[in-house]
């Protein structure tokens, strides 16, 4: 995942540090009138006439606002909006796709012809014709859950928030640098297909982030501590309801403390993973391994395949009996939550791992028939009007314990272990077996009690070994939803926003290494 990827602007970008509200009325006045239904009718009529067995058009507008600050300086304020359309056609079992930012009837005619031309060129050589499962035609409008639309609010207020965050982060003596950013995303998506669907969706996301750096210049050493909470599908109220300033102040203290923290001694430890950390382990080891396109080798050239294969469905012991994972595109405030996916399939919640057994996949309309499924789980997504939609991860979340188990209860069950907060470095192999994760802060656990801060910690494990070593889950009180807005996959690579809800969890005897190779 690359944070810079989603900050790229393609259509309209503005920079300033103090700007009044970007109002819908102002924007609407400057936006050429586009009758999406009329253009959709035209595209679908023409695609059918040219021989497409299926066609869809997505006419989408994306708005971004981002503010970057460093210490007490605002480095940039950028706003963008990106508008265009993409047409996908299926002709003789081959896909064709074309897209343009020029949203006019003439352009639609031209782009449909281009998509048909691409599909026709490929169909002549297609060995395994693509087939789709059906989905009911839908006419719907859907809006994500938020209270305050950030695009209706003053930029001044957002800049003030970021500068206050930086001030709090630098209160600790020795916290020398802080970089922070605050981004908002709005997707306005229109989808129409030869099935007869017409769907409009409006999605708002809020994405704060900061990193504090403490430097020991005489020793040539430095340490960082980044924010623990992640982006969400939520409005501006996220900045008011979460204790951002408190976490920034604590981050400054912890960055300084990390300079003098005790180096970890490599070996096997019991781990307590806070949900601010565990979401990423779930993402990499559970989320990606249960993608059916990977298992069927469709991503073999880049992202990789999966250790899971269709014959293991309902049989493989993925984890301990405590492990219940759900694919969920309905979870409130989670990043992959939508009303419908990018081929008109309604959002769903379904089990992927039940009582530790792997039971189901993430599917789309062209993947589902390949394993005998009659319907899609609704996982098709494109990150732009100009991107080919393809299978992307829904929110994949771990159920908490039914009992009221606290973080302290989990710690009490550990004789020699480490508690980890936040996500640091991460890496996993192309079939999702072997992984290594770092974190933001690490705390020693001795005889059931929390001890001093550790540093240079990373753990390595194997997916099924790791989840089978899970012997304790926190209850609902420890449950959090965290995620990332820029999960990369596909060729050309596309960003996907996805969250993972989970409680704190305990894992027995995991291999921990010391990552410091610095010779001092």
């Amino acid at each position: 995942m690359n944070r810079r990827d989603f900050l790229k602007t393609t259509s309209l970008a503005c920079g300033a540090a103090s700007l009044s509200s970007w109002s819908w009325a102002d924007e609407a006045a400057k936006t050429p009138a586009v009758d999406k239904n009329q253009l959709a009718d035209l595209a679908i009529r023409q695609a059918k006439k040219l021989g497409a067995s299926y066609a869809d058009i997505r006419i989408n507008r994306y708005r971004h606002e981002s503010i970057f600050a460093r210490e007490q300086r605002v480095q940039n304020v950028s706003r963008s909006h990106d508008f265009g359309f993409g047409v996908r056609v299926l002709l003789k079992g081959a896909w064709g796709f074309a897209a343009s930012p020029v949203v006019t009837a003439d352009s639609v005619r031209r782009v449909v012809s281009q998509a048909i031309e691409i599909a026709r060129a490929n169909a002549a050589y297609q060995r395994k014709p693509i087939k789709l499962v059906s989905t009911p035609a839908v006419k719907a409008h859907w809006k994500s859950a938020f209270e305050k639309d950030p695009f209706d609010l003053s930029t001044d207020k957002k800049v003030e928030f970021l500068l206050a965050l930086n001030e709090a982060a630098m209160k600790a003596k020795g916290a020398g640098f802080v970089t922070s950013s605050l981004s908002f995303q709005n997707e306005q998506k229109f989808y129409a297909s030869t099935d007869g669907s017409r769907i409009e969706q409006y999605i708002i996301r809020t994405l704060p982030f900061f990193t504090v750096t403490a430097v020991n210049r005489s020793a040539g050493d430095f340490q960082t501590r980044s924010s623990l909470a992640g982006p969400k599908t939520i409005g501006y109220e996220y900045l008011e309801n979460y204790p951002w300033l408190k976490d920034a102040e604590k981050a400054g203290q912890e960055a300084v403390a990390k300079l003098k923290a005790k180096p970890v001694t490599p070996g096997n430890y019991d781990l307590i993973l806070h949900p601010s950390h565990l979401w990423l382990t779930i993402h990499e080891s559970v989320g990606h391994s249960t993608e059916l396109d990977r298992a069927l080798l469709w991503e073999a050239d880049y992202a990789g395949t999966s250790f899971l294969t269709p014959d293991k469905t309902g049989k493989l012991k993925f984890g301990s009996k405590l492990c219940n994972f759900y694919g969920d595109r309905t979870q409130p405030h989670a990043l992959a939550t939508v009303g419908y996916d990018d081929e008109g399939v309604p959002a769903q919640r379904w089990p992927l791992v039940k009582d530790g057994i792997f039971v189901d996949w993430q599917t789309t309309r062209d993947l589902a028939p390949l394993i005998g499924h009659k319907k899609s789980n609704g996982c098709l997504h494109a990150d732009s009007w100009g991107s080919v939609p393809f299978p992307r991860m829904p929110n994949v979340s771990l159920e908490p314990a039914r009992e009221n188990v606290s973080l302290e209860n989990l710690i009490a069950g550990v004789d020699n272990g480490i508690l980890i907060y936040g996500n640091g470095s991460w890496s996993i192999d192309q079939q999702r077996y072997n992984f290594q994760f770092g974190g933001q802060t690490f705390w020693e656990i001795k005889k059931g009690k929390l001890g001093e801060m550790l540093r240079d910690v990373a753990y390595q494990s194997r997916t099924t070994d790791f989840w089978n070593a899970c012997d304790g889950l926190g209850g609902q009180s420890t449950y959090e939803v965290n995620g990332a807005a820029n999960d990369g996959k596909g060729e050309p690579t596309q960003a996907n926003a996805v969250s993972h809800g989970c409680p704190a969890a305990r894992f027995r005897q995991i291999n921990v290494l010391n990552t410091n190779t610095k010779k001092t």
């Binding site: 970008a13 503005c14 998509a115 691409i118 002549a124 073999a300 050239d301 470095s425 290494l513």
Partner: protein, 446 residues
């Protein structure tokens, strides 16, 4: 059809003409991109996208505002200028403002080929069909990604500078797997000239790697001598030489006492890392940061850290010259290069690494990276490849990898592209034989 120099100049002039700001810089870019993917020996997705954008940054006094649009009609350009100026008026002063450049002279580069930018769809489909046919004949399962693009861009300043450039790129990666899922191979190359992209070789190398990796054995993790193919070197060696973070004490190039490592020998004395916009195999842009004419510049020469990258702002703060690059990346030996075969012959015991995957920075103080071997790993003993082995996770400092005493043999540099870039990046890198490489745990992945 890409915008010509006169068309881009005209749009730049319109943007600058609309602005009354004290200083301004404008840009125009457009591109035409298409791709075809295949997997499981069949075509999967294919598409084409066109796009264009124009933008302006203005300074009123030292207050800055910027705006851009992908509508290039006169009204949209005027609106972008008005918006930028409106934003500048309500912005705080830009503390890092440096006046835009006056007219500069650029020595042309040649990185655009019409046939690459206007690739024929049928030709591509036929070429990929041929690769799938090869995979079927060799009884492997093929997957891959072919993309081609042309782009044109230009920028101009209030103070009279103007630059125009065009580039093209075509790339193909092929992965091959045996049907039992027990072995795999991969090969990637790209070029600005489609005539120089050897698609048959790319397919052959990927298939051969898969076939030669069957029945891998398990060996213990540990510190091994390794031979890294040029692809593996480019995947792992990601060198950034930012002066500001080094001066601030938070980079691998910071030294104790608030100093930097400039002048220190950080790599093997045969290694050079430099940027050269006119390299015939790897042309870079003729314009470096903020429009400074690009020059050939060494960051590491004979293993010694010679330069760090100074932005125009940081150069002014530190009373240095701003750095005219990098505009490309060349890692090269100043000694007679060794072939891969010579490296294998010179190895008593070690591993041959085809490429790396999922490489992430673990410790920026030492440029320690973790990641995994992928698509070809073989055990070498007594000067011969003995057998394929299962993959490993590594944790390796790049500074230690290239450091004095660790590098034994260096190959001739060739044009490669980082496999995690999907063929978008390009650099020149050599194969390397090194004494010690840290493989920390086994991976079952194929």
């Amino acid at each position: 059809m890409l915008l010509s120099e006169s068309e881009i100049k005209s749009i730049c002039d319109q943007l600058l003409g609309h602005s009354k700001a004290d200083d301004a810089e404008v840009f125009v870019s457009n591109d035409d991109y298409s791709h075809l993917r295949f997997a499981a020996n069949a075509f999967t997705t294919s598409g084409r996208r066109e796009n264009a954008s124009a933008g302006i940054t203005v300074w009123i006094g030292r207050k800055r505002g910027s705006a851009s649009a992908n509508d290039l009609d006169a009204a949209s350009l005027r609106e972008a200028v008005e918006q930028a100026e409106q934003l500048a008026r309500i912005s705080p002063e830009d503390k890092e403002y440096v006046p835009t450049l006056e007219r500069q002279t650029y020595r042309p580069v040649s990185g655009y080929v019409e046939a690459t930018a206007n690739l024929a769809l049928d030709d591509r489909a036929r070429a990929i069909d041929s690769i799938i046919g090869d995979c079927e004949k060799q009884k492997v399962i093929g997957a891959g990604f072919h993309h081609a693009s042309g782009s044109a861009s230009g920028f101009a300043t209030r103070h009279g500078n103007f630059h125009y450039g065009r580039s093209s790129l075509v790339s193909l990666s092929v992965s091959a797997r045996t049907p039992d899922g027990g072995s795999s191979g991969y090969f990637l190359r790209n070029h600005f000239d489609i005539a120089k992209l050897d698609t048959a070789r790319i397919a052959r190398e990927a298939i051969d790697k898969a076939l030669h990796s069957r029945n891998p054995r398990t060996i213990e993790p540990g510190i091994y001598p390794v031979i890294l193919e040029a692809q593996a070197v480019d995947d792992l060696v990601r060198l950034g030489f930012d002066a500001r973070s080094a001066d601030e004490g938070r980079s691998a190039y910071s030294a104790p006492g608030g100093k930097t490592k400039i002048g220190e020998q950080i790599f093997d004395q045969r290694l050079n890392f430099y940027s050269d916009p006119w390299h015939p195999e790897l042309p870079g842009s003729s314009a470096a940061q903020a429009g400074i004419p690009a020059q050939k510049i060494f960051f590491v020469r004979n293993g010694v850290l010679e330069n760090l990258h100074y932005s125009r702002y940081w150069a002014r703060e530190k009373e240095k010259e701003p750095t005219p690059g990098p505009v490309n990346s060349i890692l090269e030996s100043s000694a007679q290069p060794a072939t891969l075969e010579e490296m294998i012959k010179a190895t008593d015991r070690g591993l041959l690494v085809s490429r790396f995957w999922y490489i992430r920075n673990v410790d920026p103080r030492t440029e320690l990276f973790t990641g995994l071997t992928r698509d070809g790993l073989w055990y070498v003993e007594n000067g011969r490849i003995q057998y394929p082995v299962r993959n490993f996770r590594f944790n390796q400092s790049v500074l230690e990898l290239l450091g004095p005493g660790n590098v034994e043999m260096i190959g001739a540099s060739e044009r490669v592209s980082g496999s995690e870039s999907q063929g978008r990046s390009a650099s020149l890198a050599p194969a390397l034989k090194v004494k010690a490489f840290h493989l920390t745990s086994p991976s079952d992945a194929v």
